[in-house]
C-alpha cells in the first residue's frame, strides 16, 4: 500500500463533501444541513483515521506497520508476548489425522512426537513446526523464490532478480518432480503440507507471528513446492559460490604462470578427508577426456560479479571409533557453520512412529530430521567444497535471442517471463532466457547495465535432488549398509556424511554428484558453443571416496580438500578449508586408546586455536624486529609476541593480529582491488605459502606508492595501518578493545530487524578455528552423540526452539552456545510420565 493510495482516498472523500455542500435540499433548513455536513466531516475524519491506522504507511522509505492493528493490545503485537515457552493448547482437533498423536515437550522445550503411523507423524511434524516457526518457513520460501520485494519493496529487487535468474524455482520444481515420483515419500510430504496448513487455517490476526503484523501481510498456504524451495535454499547456500569469473580475469591479467602460483587448485600441504588407501581405490575409474587446447577466453574483463553466499558456509564433523573412547562406544560430533540468524535455522525434535524413531535437527519446512540419530546410528554433514557452478558464454545468432550457437548448429532458447511484484510500486517483469546449459544470469541489463556478454549458469542445483528421500532413509537406517543405501539417493549438495553406529562402525563418504570433468574444467568461463565444454557424465556413486573404520580410529571433515591428487577423478575446489581439518585431526590423533569422552568432543568443538596465525605471525614478528629494532618495546608488539594463538574473546592479541594481517593483505594484493576487473585475492593459506616461498615478482610492490616496497616494507606499513585502525576503533567504540568486542558476533533476524536480533555477543573463535564463530557466521548447531544403547546426545543451537521474538524460547540457548555448554537431549523413544515433561499436547482427529 503506498502513500498515493491514501491520497486518492482522501481526494474522493473531499469530492463527496463538496457534493454534499452543493446539494440543494429545499425542504431542509439551514441548521439541519449544517448538522449533516458536520456529521459527515467528522465521520470522514474518523473513517480516514481508522483507514490510516489499518494500513501500512511508508514514511521516508521506512514502512510503518498499520498502527491501529499493530498496537491494539487485544489483537496486535502485544498478544505475541508470552512468559510461557510452550504456550500451546493441550488438545487440538485437526482434520486429516487418522489417530491421536501425542506430543511431549521436555524441559529443553524439545517436542517429542509419538504417532501411530508415519502419515500422522509427518502431519504432526508439519503442524508442530508451523506452531513454532511459521513466519520463518514462509519467509525463507519467499527468499528462495525471489519474492522479497513483494514484502518489503524496491530495495530487494536486485536480490529477487538474481534468485529468479539463478533458476531457484526451476531447480526446486525439478526436485519436487523427483519427490513426486516416489509415492511413499510424496505421501509424507503431502501429509506434512496438510499439517502446516491445518495450523495456518486455524489462525486469526491475533495469533499471527509478529513479523506478519510488522510487515503487514498474511501467511500463504504451504505447498510441497515450498518444501522443495527450502531444500533449494540450502543447496544454494552450500553450492552457490564459485570464482570462475574472477579466475578468468586473473588468468588473463597475470598470465598462466603467475595464475598458478596465486590460485593453485591444491594447497601445498593437505590433510584430506578420504585419503587414497595405500592399495589404491577399489574400482576401475572411467576414462576422462583430455583437456581441450584453449580453455580460457580472452575478450575483455568482467567488472562485476553477482552476490554469492558466504564461502565459509561449511561445517565440522567427526566420529571416533569405540577403541579410542573411554566407554568403548563410538562418538559422533557435528557443528554446521552457516549464517547466524534468528529464528534459529534448526529445530530440535524427536519423531516416533512404528519402524521410525529419530531425533535431531530438522529444517523448518522439511520432512524428518537432517542431522541426528536413532536407536542404531548417528550421522552428520559437512559441505564438500567443490566448484559446483560453471558459466558458459552464450553466442546468440539473432537479436531476439531466439537461438544460440552450439556444436555447429543453432539451438532454440526458451524464455520465462518472471513477474516480480514490488510492494508500493509497479510490478517488474524480467525475461530469463534458458539455454540447455542453464539460465542466462549475466546479460546487458544484469547485474549492471555495463554488461556486454551473456553467461549461462550450469549448476548442480538444477538437477533433480533426492536428498529428502536420503534423509528419511537415514532417519530410519539400522546399520552401516542402510547408511550406504540411504546415501545412494544423496545427489546434491555434495556432503561429507559422517556416520557412527551403536554396533561400532564409523564411516565418512564424499557423497554427491560430480561430473567426470577433464582437468581444469570449469575453473574458467567456458565457451557455450563447443560440445567439448559440456559437463561429462556423473561419476558412478560407488566411485565416491570414503573411509570405513580406518586404522587411525577416527573419521573427520572440515570442508578441506576431500581427496588427494591420487584420486582418479579431477576435482575443482571452491574454497576448501586449510586449517580446521588439520587442527581436528591433530587433536583426535593425540588421544590414546580408551581415553575420549563426550566432554572431550565438546571441548574440541569449542577449540579456538588458530593454525593460521601460528604459521604466519612468527614470520611477521621476525620481519618487524629486523626492520625496526625499537619495536620490541611497543605494547602491541609484546602482546602479539606472547599470544598463544587462541581466539579468546577476552584477548587483545587476536584483534591486533587480524587487523595487521588484513592490512598486509590489502597492501600486498593491491593488484586485486580493481574497479574495472573483478578479482579475488589468493587465500590466506596461499598468501602465507608465498611469503615463505617467494611472491611472484612485481606483485610485492604496492602500486599506490611512489617507492618500490619489499615484503618487509609491506609488513611494516601494515603494522602502522593496524595501529591507526585500532586507534580509530577505540575512538568510535567506547568499549574495551578485545577480541569479543572487536569481532562483535551478532545473530541477525532473518528480516534484518536489529530489534529482533541479538547483537554483540562476546564469544571465542574465528573462521579458521574449529570454533568458527565470526561476525555473523558460525556454528548454527552443535551436537555430540555417544553411541551407547540407546545413544546419548548433547546439543545446542544459537537461538531457541520458538520462532517468536516474544517467547523466552526464542533465544534461550544463546548463552549456552556462547559459553560452549550443551543441553542433554532426552531421547524418549516412547511417551514417558516424568517431571522432565512440561507439556503434553494431543492432536486428535477431527472429522468435520
Amino acid at each position: 500500500m503506498s502513500i498515493y493510495d491514501h491520497k486518492s482516498i482522501y481526494n474522493s472523500i473531499g469530492i463527496c463533501i463538496k457534493k454534499v455542500l452543493s446539494f440543494r435540499l429545499v425542504n431542509f433548513d439551514y441548521k439541519f444541513r449544517m448538522r449533516i455536513i458536520k456529521f459527515l466531516i467528522t465521520l470522514s475524519i474518523t473513517l480516514g483515521l481508522v483507514y490510516t491506522l489499518n494500513n501500512q504507511l511508508v514514511i521516508n522509505n521506512q514502512p510503518i506497520p498499520p498502527l491501529g492493528k499493530f498496537l491494539d493490545p487485544f489483537q496486535g503485537f502485544w498478544q505475541n508476548a508470552t512468559s510461557d515457552p510452550v504456550p500451546y493448547s493441550s488438545e487440538e482437533g485437526l482434520e486429516g489425522l487418522t489417530a491421536p498423536v501425542k506430543i511431549q515437550y521436555d524441559s529443553a522445550f524439545v517436542p517429542h512426537i509419538f504417532a501411530k503411523n508415519k502419515e500422522d507423524l509427518f502431519f504432526a511434524q508439519g503442524f508442530i513446526i508451523a506452531q513454532h516457526r511459521l513466519w520463518q518457513m514462509d519467509f525463507q520460501t519467499y527468499a528462495a523464490s525471489g519474492r522479497i520485494s513483494e514484502l518489503i519493496g524496491k530495495q530487494a529487487l536486485q536480490f529477487d532478480q538474481l534468485q529468479r535468474r539463478k533458476g531457484m524455482v526451476y531447480g526446486a520444481e525439478k526436485a519436487l518432480e523427483a519427490m513426486a515420483n516416489d509415492p511413499e515419500l510424496y505421501a509424507y510430504i503431502l501429509k506434512y503440507t496438510e499439517g502446516v496448513n491445518s495450523y495456518i487455517n486455524g489462525l486469526k490476526y491475533k495469533d499471527l507471528p509478529v513479523e506478519y503484523k510488522l510487515l503487514d501481510y498474511t501467511p500463504e498456504p504451504w505447498t510441497p513446492l515450498k518444501s522443495a524451495l527450502l531444500l533449494q535454499y540450502m543447496i544454494d547456500n552450500l553450492t552457490g559460490w564459485d570464482q570462475d569469473i574472477e579466475k578468468t580475469n586473473a588468468y588473463n591479467l597475470f598470465g598462466k604462470d603467475i595464475f598458478q602460483q596465486l590460485y593453485p587448485n591444491y594447497s601445498a600441504e593437505i590433510d584430506p578427508i578420504a585419503p587414497t588407501p595405500s592399495t589404491g581405490w577399489d574400482f576401475d575409474s572411467l576414462k576422462t577426456t583430455p583437456t581441450p587446447d584453449s580453455i580460457v577466453f580472452n575478450d575483455g574483463f568482467i567488472s562485476e560479479v553477482t552476490e554469492m553466499p558466504d564461502p565459509d558456509n561449511g561445517s565440522n564433523n567427526w566420529a571416533v571409533s569405540g577403541w579410542k573412547t573411554k566407554s568403548g562406544n563410538p562418538i559422533l560430533s557435528s557443528d554446521m557453520h552457516l549464517g547466524l540468524n534468528l529464528p534459529s535455522l534448526w529445530f530440535l525434535i524427536e519423531l516416533s512412529a512404528p519402524d521410525y524413531n529419530t531425533m535431531g535437527f530438522a529444517l523448518a519446512g522439511n520432512v524428518g530430521v537432517v542431522a541426528g540419530f536413532n536407536q542404531y546410528n548417528a550421522w552428520a554433514f559437512t559441505d564438500v567444497s567443490r566448484d559446483e557452478r560453471d558459466w558458459y558464454k552464450i553466442t546468440f545468432t539473432d537479436e531476439n535471442k531466439e537461438e544460440y550457437l552450439f556444436d555447429g548448429t543453432n539451438i532454440k532458447t526458451s524464455k520465462v517471463v518472471e513477474e516480480i511484484k514490488v510492494r508500493g510500486s509497479e510490478t517488474v517483469y524480467d525475461t530469463v532466457i534458458y539455454t540447455h546449459h542453464g539460465p542466462i544470469v549475466y546479460d546487458e541489463s544484469f547485474p549492471s547495465i555495463e554488461g556486454t556478454d551473456y553467461y549461462a549458469l550450469k549448476w548442480i542445483g538444477h538437477y533433480p535432488s533426492r536428498v529428502q528421500k536420503a534423509l528419511i532413509e537415514l532417519n530410519r537406517s539400522k546399520n552401516y549398509t542402510d547408511y550406504l543405501k540411504a546415501l545412494e539417493n544423496w545427489d546434491a549438495p555434495a556432503q561429507h556424511v559422517a556416520f557412527a553406529s551403536v554396533s561400532g562402525d564409523i564411516a565418512i563418504r564424499v557423497q554427491g554428484l560430480w561430473p567426470n570433468k577433464w582437468k581444469n574444467q570449469g575453473l574458467f568461463i567456458m565457451d557455450g558453443s563447443q560440445k567439448s565444454m559440456e559437463w561429462p557424465e556423473f561419476i558412478p556413486t560407488d566411485h565416491y571416496a570414503f573411509q570405513h573404520n580406518p586404522n587411525r580410529g577416527f573419521v573427520s571433515s572440515a570442508n578441506q580438500h576431500s581427496v588427494d591428487q591420487s584420486y582418479p577423478y579431477w576435482q575443482g575446489w571452491a574454497s576448501p578449508d586449510n586449517y580446521r581439518g588439520r587442527r581436528i585431526n591433530s587433536i583426535l590423533s593425540g588421544y590414546d586408546s580408551a581415553s575420549i569422552t563426550p566432554k572431550h568432543m565438546m571441548e574440541l568443538q569449542q577449540d579456538d586455536y588458530g593454525i593460521l596465525p601460528s604459521e604466519v605471525l612468527p614470520l611477521l614478528l621476525d620481519s618487524m624486529r629486523n626492520v625496526r629494532s625499537d619495536i620490541t618495546t611497543d605494547s602491541i608488539f609484546t602482546s602479539l609476541s606472547s599470544w598463544n594463538y587462541h581466539y579468546n574473546a577476552d584477548y587483545f592479541a587476536p584483534v591486533a593480529f587480524l587487523s595487521w594481517w588484513q592490512n598486509i593483505k590489502r597492501l600486498l594484493w593491491d593488484e586485486m582491488r580493481n574497479e574495472e576487473i573483478a578479482l579475488n585475492s589468493p587465500t590466506d593459506y596461499q598468501t602465507i605459502h608465498l611469503f615463505k616461498n617467494g611472491i611472484p615478482s612485481g606483485l610485492v610492490d604496492n602500486k599506490h606508492t611512489a617507492m618500490s616496497e619489499t615484503l618487509n616494507d609491506i609488513i611494516s606499513m601494515g603494522y602502522d595501518s593496524m595501529k591507526h585502525d585500532l586507534q580509530i576503533w577505540i575512538k568510535k567504540n567506547e568499549k574495551e578493545l578485545n577480541w569479543g568486542n572487536y569481532k562483535s558476533t551478532s545473530i541477525i533476524h532473518l528480516a534484518r530487524i536489529p530489534a529482533l536480533s541479538t547483537m554483540n555477543i562476546h564469544v571465542n573463535g574465528e573462521d579458521d578455528a574449529v570454533n568458527s564463530t565470526k561476525r555473523n557466521h558460525g556454528p548454527s548447531q552443535r551436537i555430540v552423540v555417544e553411541m551407547s544403547n540407546p545413544p546419548q546426545a548433547w546439543a545446542v543451537i544459537p537461538g531457541g526452539q520458538s520462532g517468536n521474538p516474544g517467547n523466552p524460547a526464542y533465544d534461550n540457548m544463546i548463552e549456552a552456545w556462547r559459553e560452549g555448554s550443551y543441553l542433554k537431549m532426552n531421547f524418549l523413544q516412547e511417551p514417558v510420565d516424568s517431571n522432565i515433561i512440561i507439556l503434553n499436547q494431543t492432536l486428535v482427529p477431527d472429522k468435520q
Binding site: 489499518n54 508470552t82 530487524i753 536489529p754 516474544g806
Partner: protein, 121 residues
C-alpha cells in the same frame, strides 16, 4: 456523572467486543454510547478517548509486566522508543480512534448549547 457512566460503558463494551473484533470496533463502541447518552462535543470526544486509552494502557501494561517486557522492549527499540512511551502511544492511538467515534455521534445530536450545559453540570 454522565461522563463517568460513558467511560465505564465504553470500557466494558470495548473489552468484550475487542476479544473478537478488530481495533476499529472501539470507534463503533464509543459512537454507540455517545449516541445514546447525549453530551457536548468535548465530553463525547474525551469519553471515548479516555475510556479506550485507559483500557488499552491497562491491558498493554498487564501483558508487559506478565511477560517481563519480553516483546515490549524489542518493539520499543524498533521504533526508538522506551517501553513506557510505546505503551503510552498505544493508549493514545486507541484513544484517538474511540474519541473520534464519540465525536461523530455527537454530530447527530440536535440539542442546543443551553440544554447541554444544563445536563452537564
Amino acid at each position: 456523572m454522565k461522563f463517568v457512566v460513558k467511560l465505564i460503558l465504553i470500557i466494558g463494551l470495548c473489552y468484550l467486543l475487542q476479544l473478537v473484533l478488530p481495533f476499529w470496533i472501539v470507534a463503533v463502541a464509543a459512537f454507540l454510547v455517545n449516541l445514546v447518552i447525549k453530551t457536548n462535543g468535548w465530553s463525547s470526544f474525551f469519553s471515548g478517548f479516555f475510556a479506550v486509552a485507559i483500557l488499552w494502557f491497562i491491558v498493554a501494561s498487564g501483558i508487559d509486566s506478565r511477560t517481563d517486557s519480553i516483546l515490549t522492549e524489542r518493539i520499543a527499540q524498533l521504533f526508538s522508543l522506551s517501553s513506557f512511551l510505546l505503551t503510552a502511544i498505544t493508549a493514545i492511538v486507541g484513544g484517538l480512534v474511540a474519541g473520534m467515534g464519540g465525536l461523530t455521534a455527537r454530530m447527530l445530536h440536535t440539542q442546543s448549547k443551553k440544554s447541554k450545559s444544563k445536563y452537564y453540570s
